[in-house]
Amino acid sequence: MRPFTYVEGISVADAAAAVHAAPAAMFLAGGTAIVDLMKLGVLAPAALVDVQRLPLGDIELDDRRARIGACVRNAQLAEHPEIRARWPVVREALLSGMSAQLRNMSTVAGNILQRTRCPYYRDPHSACNKRVPGSGCAVQTGWDRDAAVLGGSPHCLAVFPSDLATALAILDAIVYTRRGDGGARRLPFDGFHRLPGDTPERDTVLDHGELVTHLELPDLAIARRSHYFKVRDRASYDFALASAAVALDLERGHVRDARIALGGVATRPWRCTAAEQSLRGKRAELASFRAAADLALADAVARTHNGFKIELARHVVVRALSELAARPG
């Protein structure tokens, strides 16, 4: 690990300004990802600005929304009774990921900003455009079993790993930020994560020194019937091979509205609007779910070893919708 300076942010504005002023500075929250990556030599920030003491650790709720501080711990969010009642998919997604220890330490903003698990990103010797822009993408000729089948480019096939982000993708979430120059932004979650294209080094639309301060979940009737379903190699403590966040608004056995997003298979949280559209007005039954799943994966592209993810993700969508439809209420 390279030497670095560590400062504790005193205020939101001050922390954002501090990172903004130093090109090689980064924010530090729970540290569960960034410290690992620093040890591996993947990230080498000259300075870390710790934001954990900033007043960003609360969950505020009213009838219209949930306002979740960026430094709320993932465990804290998962255990909140009202989150559980009004946005069950959030809790399910969180509990399907990490270990209890990591959930206690890691933050909500850190979760949606986590970097890919692609082995070539995590190895400093390998070509990886996400780590070193212009260096190439070793997975194109390499071991691609875990690579993305959706949203990839010739420059990057790295799967975006966050379960929480997959859930947020169906909840019309809003990301609030404070910029290093003092401004603030309100970013719809839909466009928050970028496709890799030819600039895979940028996972999100955040600028350097832009600090996520809050997430907002608007109150959403459909979210009350929402669900997260995840398949992984290991029974627990593992990243998704394929996952789906789904929500259904049902009326007398028919789908009035639906939300579907995929995780573990795409380069960003993957909202499936065409699949959602196809369900509206359909009977909530297997055939409809299968048709929606086919649409969700219609654009998927298989590489050498990751083709199974396409079939698997279809089944995951069908399973998630079927389980959710069978729930009472």
Partner: protein
């Protein structure tokens, strides 16, 4: 006799548990000495070729750096012993010997600094230029060389041609890594030109021999200590490159040097279980009786030089397949495939864990083909003697293991047809396989000493043997307390020091069977000498009184276990039966093991607590082997894709099924040693993976022959098989 002894075989408390859980047990990486310096390594970024230049200029300027070793300045090291029985190194060529690169991750520079962080940082500043050469890292891409030593009996080819039922199948196993909780660690310290090494090792005497040769010292001038080792699974048998380098650096700096491998270094530089490709051909009568078994294995080894030197590592898959079942015609063929990877090594049940994967899988296929119950097929081919040498087993109870296991599992209720049991979305399948591991025993000696102290005596048991966390401390305490009829708290056990009476490497489940009888022999000698001071044969004087009468403050004796004589009349082998239940959700590629029943014959159990722990751990190891563990390498860059424990998957709690392990009571192997015990450290893993695959077949009718049984493989197999 041991079986009537009051304590042997009962559950004891681990005598070292308290100091372990309170952090007082000092492992190698815990050792702190005045002036301690810390090492970090630069691993090769290429898999094959040459180092053209190592630029250490920037690294030398970094804070705290004391020394950087490369092949240019490492200094002389003597030849290393290998294969002569005194010690083992992964490579007969010492580390940093020259500019040649054989695998990615091979140490090309060592940095020593005041702190581990400074060493790691400076290591990242070392710049290495390479001349890469073509490499092969996939066993399926490499050319095999036939090993000449082919065990055979009868005429396999003829039998295979003529048999009414034949099976001809290919099974494979991937590269798998031993992942002990404690990474490989060494502290090397020179004291008045003598070397003292604290090491994470399975064999202090092996380390001593290697280090003495390397530095041109007599063995007495090298002391190696490993009182506590946090797991090994075979990976700490070899004296590692970093151990030698730590000693080089410590001598150069005249300061002690600590070297602790990072997990990624354990996963690249420490010998893994070799990949195998195994073809099993079976010929059988219609009633299932085996007529012929041909076992052709390809396994990977390190370099072409090893092959040329006739010393390639090979995964000894056929060791078990030739002995297990009654079968008149047998042939094993072994090809080794040199790859540009760290030299493979022995990993828990080497040969058995891999060989039984193939053989037991093929037998399940034979059972299906012949319409026989898999258990009945094993019974039909049962052999009460080593099928290859013909020697009868001195103590063999495999049939009881089968019967007892079947009863505990409920095997008789098994409906043979696949897809016959369902629970919600999951198909349930039941499978079974034979577990087997040879009885191993090696020469060993143990010193038992009685000290007169206030209120009685205290006993100290000492041997150079090592407890890897497996239970030797407790086993020795149990044996000695039992033999001297003393309460356990009066016994102290000292292990893992070359100054203690010599013991073999801890490996092949040999140590309790080697050391515990030696301890018993020492106790017998002590008893005899002290009992001479009784006033009458029936006098019930205690040890303290007898010592006082003898006018002694202390007394000690050494007991030994001899080498096994050539031409033993009997064979000694442990056996078991594994029964497994799985739940399979085909469309999700999901296989979960929900229940395992394992019943074993391991001879006389010494301590029930640690034996149970070993067997449970073995079964769980088998679950990991079956479902999760594999290393793969990038075909273009040779990168090990799974470089940490987030990528190299081991079972977590949620993967642990209901495991019911049991051993047969009162089955001491009395001609094996005076206690009648064989080892229990490895047999638990054997048979688990094939039983799981057989259960998967029973669940959904799909045969998986490549480990591990991952979702992608299950989905691919389903896509190829006819749908219901």
């Amino acid at each position: 006799m041991s079986t009537t002894s009051p304590r042997i075989g009962r559950p004891a408390e681990r005598i070292e548990a308290r100091i372990k859980v309170t952090g007082q047990a000092r492992y190698a990486a815990d050792v702190v000495l005045p002036g301690l310096a810390h090492a970090a390594y630069v691993g090769s970024a290429i898999a094959c070729g040459r180092v053209l230049a190592v630029d250490t200029a920037r690294a030398e300027q970094a804070g705290g750096v004391l020394l950087i070793l490369t092949h240019d300045n490492r200094g002389p090291l003597g030849d290393l012993p290998n294969g002569d029985g005194t010690g083992l190194t992964p490579d007969p060529r010492p580390p940093l010997a020259d500019d040649r690169i054989d695998y990615r991750g091979q140490i090309v520079a060592m940095v020593v600094a005041e702190s581990p962080e400074q060493a790691a940082h400076a290591a990242s500043l070392v710049e290495v230029r390479y001349e890469p050469a073509p490499f092969v890292v996939d066993i399926d891409d490499g050319a095999g060389t036939r090993l000449s030593d082919v065990p055979r009996r009868g005429d396999c080819a003829a039998a295979l041609r003529a048999a009414p039922v034949t099976i001809d199948v290919l099974y494979s196993t991937p590269i798998q890594h031993p992942c002990p909780l404690e990474p490989h660690a060494t502290v090397a310290h020179w004291v008045d030109h003598d070397l003292v090494v604290y090491d994470s090792t399975q064999w202090v005497l092996g380390d001593q021999a290697v280090l003495a040769r390397a530095f041109g010292l007599s063995n007495e001038r090298v002391r190696v200590l490993a009182p506590f080792v946090g797991g090994s699974f075979g990976s700490k048998v070899f004296t590692a490159a970093h151990t030698l380098l730590a000693a080089v650096a410590a001598r150069r700096l005249e300061r002690p040097v600590k070297s602790v491998l990072r997990r990624s270094e354990v996963l690249t530089t420490v010998g893994p279980r070799a990949a195998t490709r195994q073809r099993i051909q079976l010929a059988a009568e219609r009633d299932g009786r085996l007529i012929a078994l041909r076992h052709h294995t390809r396994s990977h080894c390190a370099t072409e030089r090893d092959v040329a030197d006739r010393d390639p590592f090979y995964e000894p898959t056929s060791g078990i397949t030739r002995v297990l079942y009654a079968c008149p015609n047998y042939e094993a063929v072994h090809d080794v495939v040199p790859l540009h990877l760290a030299k493979p090594g022995w990993m828990r049940a080497p040969g058995e864990a891999t060989g039984l994967w193939a053989l037991e899988g093929a037998l399940d296929e034979l059972a299906c083909e012949s319409g026989l119950d898999p258990l009945a097929l094993r019974m039909r081919n049962h052999s009460s003697r080593d099928a290859h040498t013909g020697k009868p087993y001195a103590s063999e109870h495999l049939r009881e293991c089968y019967e007892r296991g079947a009863e505990r599992f409920g095997w008789s209720r098994r409906e043979p047809r696949p897809r016959s049991m369902r629970d919600g979305d999951a198909w349930i399948g039941w499978g079974m396989a034979t577990a087997a591991h040879p009885g191993n025993r090696d020469p060993a000696s143990v010193r038992v000493r009685l000290d007169r102290e206030r209120g009685g005596v205290h006993v100290t048991v000492a041997t150079a043997g090592i407890d890897l966390g497996t239970g030797l401390y407790t086993a020795l305490a149990v044996v000695v307390a039992d033999a001297l009829d003393l309460p356990g708290e009066r016994v102290t056990v000292e292990l893992g020091d070359t100054r203690l009476p010599p013991a073999p490497m801890t490996g092949g489940s040999n140590l309790t069977a080697s050391v515990a009888p030696a301890a018993l022999a020492a106790c017998t000698r002590l008893r005899r000498r002290l009992l001479a001071f009784r006033r009458a044969p029936d006098e019930s004087a205690d040890w303290a009184e007898l010592l006082d009468r003898a006018g002694l403050g202390d007394i000690e004796a050494i007991g030994t276990t001899d080498a096994r004589p050539p031409g033993e009349r009997h064979a000694h082998h442990s056996f078991g039966a594994q029964f497994v239940e799985v739940r399979v959700v085909p469309e999700l590629g999901r296989i979960r093991v929900t229940r395992v029943v394992g019943v074993f014959d391991v001879g006389q159990v010494v301590d029930a607590t640690t034996t149970r722990s070993q067997l449970l751990g073995g079964v769980l190891f088998g679950v990991g082997q079956a479902l999760l563990e594999q290393q793969v390498h990038d075909p273009v860059h040779a990168l090990p894709v799974h470089a940490d424990l987030a990528g190299y998957l081991l079972p977590c709690h949620a993967d642990v099924p209901d495991i019911d392990v049991e051993w047969l009571d009162a089955v001491p192997d009395v001609t094996f040693n005076a206690i009648g015990c064989r080892g229990a450290g490895e047999i638990g893993i054997t048979g688990v993976a094939p039983a799981i695959a057989s259960a998967v077949h029973h669940a959904i009718g799909v045969r998986l022959r490549d480990l591990p049984l991952t979702p992608d493989r299950l989905l691919a197999a389903l896509a190829e098989s006819p749908r219901e």
